[in-house]
Symmetry: C2
């Protein structure tokens, strides 16, 4: 599945969306792709500055947003840094979150939790909670997304 996009690489994806290729962007992509595991904005800046001292933190953030938009990067943690709380539920449940309007739908998936427990046991972890968040667009917001993508097709 989908080997073609992969062959393109970031540069191709940039062009396809009418985004420019700058040394800063190249560098940030490189750092993230070379690195096993996850990095935060500060860590990326630190590594990048070794090779490009003038780089600014805002460029890192702007580039990360772009990479997320191009689906080149996966984000760990909540996009909005606002914490939400709910009374500890009797039944664990999971969340379906709309990135468009922020709507949250709860659902249950007991089977998943079993699997998770097994995995945790394998690693000797003592699990105190889990967070299963499916991110995407609800039917209403999905339409707007389509418009948004169309606007960026290489048609001009």
């Amino acid at each position: 599945m989908g080997m073609s996009e992969k062959g393109l690489g970031p540069v191709g994806l940039f062009r396809a969306k009418g985004k420019r290729i700058t040394p800063q962007r190249r560098l940030i992509v490189e750092i993230i792709q070379e690195h096993e595991g996850h990095l935060d904005a500060d860590e990326i800046l630190l590594r990048a500055k070794a090779r490009y001292p003038r780089l600014s933190l805002s460029t890192v953030y702007r580039t990360l947003d772009l990479l997320r938009e191009l689906d080149l990067v996966k984000e760990l943690g909540l996009a909005t840094y606002r914490r939400h709380y709910e009374a500890k539920p009797n039944e664990e449940h999971q969340h379906l979150i709309c990135l468009g309007c922020g709507k949250v739908i709860e659902f249950q998936c007991a089977h998943c939790l079993d699997i998770h427990q097994n995995l945790a046991d394998q690693h000797g972890f003592e699990i105190t909670g889990s967070r299963v968040e499916l991110l995407g667009y609800c039917p209403q917001c999905a339409e707007k997304e389509v418009d948004h993508v169309h606007r960026h097709l290489p048609s001009e």
Copy 2:
């Protein structure tokens, strides 16, 4: 399982950990437990002020931390509001996160993703990503946790 704790209620849990019961804490617990769904700190403050106008936002935060510690509340979103990124993996994977030392272990659970996709379809969602984070303590940190709990037993 575990009906006994439930019978105690928040007040009992507070006492068991040597925490004081104040009207502010009572109120905040009440608000969260009465509310279906999730609330953030501001929303809690807003509702609480209707009945207790002098309440401050920092008390809300401090109380939320306490409730989390007592496991009376579940948190949606990342505890640290620092976003982390990783190169978009070919295989989706999930994270096992140690709340003690921050260690992150990646694992795969393809079966879960199928289940999630089904759920998403049921709700008409267009999924763009998922976040499965199991939170707990790794073997090393779990020990320290035990100490921590012992220190709070009503033994003095």
